[in-house]
Amino acid sequence: MSCHSPNNKSRSELKFKDTINIALAGNPNVGKSVIFNQLTGLSQTIGNWPGKTVERMEGQLEFLGYHFNIVDLPGIYSLSTFSLEEIVSREYVVSEEVDIIINVIDATNLERNLFFTFQLLELQVPMILAINQMDLLRKRNIDLDFKELEKIFKLPVLPVVAVHGTGVHQLLEEAIELVVYRHPHHHYNYRRRSSRESKHHGHHYYRVEHIHDKSKSKESMKKNFEFPELNQVKSFGKEVELKILNLIEKISEYQPFLSSHNYPSRFLAIKLLENDNEIIKIFETSEEGKSIVQLSKKYREELENLHGEDIHTIISLEIYSNIKKIIDLVLITKLKKSARKKTLIDFFDHLTTHSIFGYLVLIGILFGIYFFTFSIGDFFASLIDNTFIVWSNIIYAGFSENNVWVKIFWDGGVGGFFGAVGGVLVYVIPFFFVIEILQDSGYLPRAAFLMDRIMHSLGVHGKTIIPMILGFGCNVAACAGCRIMETEREKKISVALTSIVPCAATMTVVLGLVGRYLGFYWILILFMINLSVIFIVGRLLNKILPGQCTELIMEMHEYRVPNYKVIFKQTWVRSKEFIFKAMPIMLLLGIILEILLIFNALEPVNVILSPITVFWLGLPAITGVFLIYGILRKELTLVLLSILANSLNTSLLVLLTPVQMIVFSLVTMLYIPCFATIILIAKQTNWKYAAQISLLEIGLALLIGGVINFGFLIFTSF
């Protein structure tokens, strides 16, 4: 996997360029990605965190003479070990790679957002608080006292309206200030600059003159950075605090250990108390560490007995009570809060979660996705296919038809390229576009809300419906969407289920064959079979995979008008990922297939496959090769079949019996995810699992196809 590895950009190189590495952190849906997009534009890359299946978004920009490298961390609520995202985030934030955190906070949801801020504070990394959606808050006649906030946190706190780009670049100025120019032993004094108040976008500030003053190297400053002392704000109630102080003391005595990691001792103490597996693992490497773990265990039990609550609840309560104090200080309610008026947004919310209309809307959206992806994709697909045919004729006019190299290069390489563009990419791009709209508007959690109950019988909670809905357009993109699942187990079940959902390409086969020649009811029957396969696979994986089905806990955001900038950029970034990661493999495969075809190596394939295709499924022998091609592009099975019929001057009706049509369509629907999907399953999980899922689906497809074939045989023989 050509992961984008963050570590490899050699540190020495960075020193010279004066790079500032920023980590954007915050809850999900607080406008982090909007800020990220505003800052980095199109210079983004999506990769995976090394060795993890968590997505890593990274972007660059130049600003005020500095090079900024910004990593958009996954949206999380806490720094515990609930999900991989949380572990990845906290390990990254304390690593050498991060100079400063920008914590994006949703002003309309201050209390919950500050909970995460408090966790970040414990990591003692230079930090800026960016309070987003201030416009919305002010609309509600509420304001925040930023002076007071900076006084409390002793860190820069800035108002931002990300969707308009207001205040976004000030964050970077503040970052320069904090990382480069801040005197190490000088606490952040509250200073107000005119630049912040006047929210203009120009960048001519008094600080420009400092830019070439590189006498203060960033590196030395960062090491000396003294995180503000926030005991006043952070300390817990007496019982808990005393235990934490004791643990800190023990940890600090344990010198050899301290040098080997980056976590501050207070963070470690809290996490030990919280029974955090990852942290305990670090400690349990030595006897001394083990004794600290034992002590923390004793403390935990004492606290739990005292409060009659588990430790997480106790600590969360402490943090929330600290937050409450802050909120009381900074929240300015200008007028009496008026009762919220019923708005259009509420109406949509009501409609889409309604027990009848909600499902109708859901079905409508499914058809919508399918229709949109299909109609746009189809238009460009035929355009591209025709171009290829025209060019092919020109090429072959110039060369002999039997020139092997031309065949390999043109039919295999170029043909493979056109196949990938015309067959997959044109569907994938409009599809990513719809996904982004659905995601950004906030609809998808509503679908999860409606479907939770049903999905539970498949061993996953309602969220899985999100990638599955997407699967109706394109399995490839949808499998990439499975990253939203929290646990490894849910991810595994979700990708498997998603890969069986009939995508737009599969639908062309079903519609073009069964729909056209046998009628609508047969399509319905095929769909029912497909749905039951999804059900069976879900039940099966639920049984096989270790662990238990977790309950749905999901934030349901208000609807909002999608931000077109974000949508276009995200569509492009995702398409780019597909173009550069999945397409090269497809090209290679096209060339290999062409070579096999030239040497007639596929004829034996038909023969080898004939026990399955001819005997078991009752299909013509030639379909063996078609099905192989179908792995590359599912609709190729039908395309090749039509070409064959044309060359024989017959119609498909002569070529295939109705039963064969049904079996052929069904097998195409189920037998294996397309190659690009397999690649993405592997990316989300691992290659072994991708292979297992493919085999499972082949098995199921053959089983069902065979049963139908023999069922009809027996039925008709009576």
Binding site: Y77, S78, S80, F82, T108, N109, L110, E111, R112, F115, E309, D310, H312, T313, I315, S316, L317, Y320, T353, S355, I356, G358, Y359, P445, A448, F449, L450, M451, D452, R453, I454, H456, H461, G462, T550, E551, L552, I553, M554, E555, M556, H557, E558
Partner: protein, 98 residues
């Protein structure tokens, strides 16, 4: 609405704090969390999201077919699977005041 006020009346008459699970609440009822009897992971997750004892929450939606429920907690709306919701013990506001 009438049903809701009836229950509240009943509670007041009884004069006891009537604990019940979140699933039993009426739509639109404001309650305060007494206890979360869930497993370790779910409990941590809920605590992170602000569902801790003492928090006031409002139940806003019931998904059809005994699906999940939606609550408002600390200004944000949260969807919780029904199985988990039934493990969240709450007391209605009136009875808390008494």
């Amino acid at each position: 609405m009438s049903e809701e006020s009836l229950t509240n009346k009943e509670n007041q008459i009884k004069g006891t704090s009537l604990n019940k699970c979140l699933t039993e609440c009426e739509k639109g009822e404001e309650v305060s969390v007494i206890r979360v009897n869930a497993g370790h992971n779910a409990k941590t997750r809920l605590a992170n999201l602000g569902v801790v004892p003492g928090t006031k929450i409002t139940k806003t939606k019931n998904a059809p077919f005994k699906g999940p429920i939606e609550i408002i907690v600390k200004g944000s709306s949260l969807v919780i699977g029904r199985g988990l919701a039934s493990k969240i013990i709450v007391a209605c506001k009136e009875s808390c005041l008494n």
